[in-house]
Amino acid sequence: MSIPNNLKYTKSHEWVRLEDDGIVTVGITPHAQELLGDMVFVETPDIGRKLDQGEECAVVESVKAAADVYAPISGEVTAANPDLETAPEKINQDAYAAWLFKLRPVNVADLNNLLDAAGYQKLLESEED
């Protein structure tokens, strides 16, 4: 499984990408989609919603389970991926391309508290035990 260096990660298996315009894009990692299996439903947060770090803000539902997605950092929702409503399987096909929502961060520096690629790799290894 590839863990790109240009992304940040959370312990709850979200990936986060800082865009050039200061907005961050959030999705779930390939590891998370593999654990969940075939996606059947995705619920994304409303645009304009203000999120605190760690707040439940989206739901991904597979044939096995429904899982909450948490806000990786505090911020305001600026966009939600419209494709996932009709094609939740896109997360299974390419979890890094199938982003869930975008946030305007309260403080971009909060990203520094997240895991980098090496840290996330370590987390996955520790969960293997």
Partner: protein, 482 residues
Amino acid sequence: MLIFEHSRPGRRNYSQSPATAAETGNIPQNLLRKRPPLLPEVSEMDAVRHYTRLSQKNFSIDTQFYPLGSCTMKYNPRACNSLAMLPPFLARHPRAPESTGQGFLACMYELQEILKDVTGMAGVSLTPMAGAQGELIGIAMIRAYHESRGDAARTEIIVPDAAHGTNPATAVMCGYKVVEISTDKEGDVDMEALKAAVGPQTAGLMLTNPSTLGVFEKNVAEMSRVVHQAGGLLYYDGANLNAILGKVKPGDMGFDVIHINLHKTFSTPHGGGGPGSAPVGVGKRLLPFMPVPVVAFEKGAYRWLAEKDIPQSIGRLSAHMGNAGVLLRAYVYVRLLGEEGMHRVAEFATLNANYLMAELSKAGFEIAYPTRRASHEFIVTLKDLKEKTGVTAMNVAKRLLDKGYHAPTTYFPLLVPECLLIEPAETESKETLDAFVASMKEILEEAHTQPEMVKGAPHTTPVRRLDDVKAARELDLVWKQT
């Protein structure tokens, strides 16, 4: 094939016996329907054959072992059904005067008393009409208790991460914020996490014990002390009551409120969408808030207690008094068992589970919590098998169908990867359990020698593997005439 597809215009179930048209009497013309309803038009024989064939295709506890146990399909003694169907019970009107329903009220009163005794609670209300409603009402009573004391600061309900998903859902429905706490390596609630989570904001803790991991929470007394000391109350989810029936009382463990899924433990229908029933038991602190009606026995007669008798009651949950027919089945069951029988249910449910766990372990299956004694159920994890052979828990479950067994619960609890949650229940014989172990052993060998065959299972059932992903994505439940 659906019954609608057997339909032929004009075919009637009375085709061989001349019948007169139904009398519409003096119903006004404008209220009579112009066209017959769109019901399937079949003969009686067609209908009998159709439904008999469907029942033959179905897995059922009447023909096969269900290792889903009390979770889903515990065997219900036939007597419970036949006695609850006695004509006077069926003919009883829910609004008939109490004086003409004393026999029925006596059954309900005794059921309340027996459930109080077996759970160690101070009061029981039979009125919740399903497990979800029982849970909702339990937490609503906790809320009413805190509000009655003017304690508005309590906004959080603590739920272990191993809990059934209904627990956090219930807390949210009652307006609470859910605080999730983790599980330790032994399968118990992490006590440090609990201690860190409680405080003046804690309204209560929801706990299933034995837990969904199939182990008895060793620290339940300490948990109870910690939560009570912080001013919170304890809610007992009765999902796994079968394991401790008559042996340990939730009231003695310190719980303030409990809901009991009658279908899980007390021989009432399940798996067909109901009707459900989930009596709630309460400790002394919550007695004033019980939902009405509740049956009382006063001056030699039974009567319903209503709002005027329990003025702080959180109210009514149904037009009458819950699902009477379901409660009667539970009543017959608890009277059939008696105290001794209840002990035997718990003893044999746990004995069967521990025997099966030991035998499957010997057969090469990995037990998720090997150091713990099973309650009435236990978890096998197939993580290693998947890594070595590609065969998943779902594949093993499907292959079990070929061997004549219903599949156990798969992929729950979520904490254990590639898991099967196995619960034999108290009614299965050693021969059945041994045959199940032999089949599981065969599947384990097949996973190594013919993994593709196992991945393609089931092979012998009336329908092969269903496309549950497509079914979930494109839900289509309505038949349309073409």
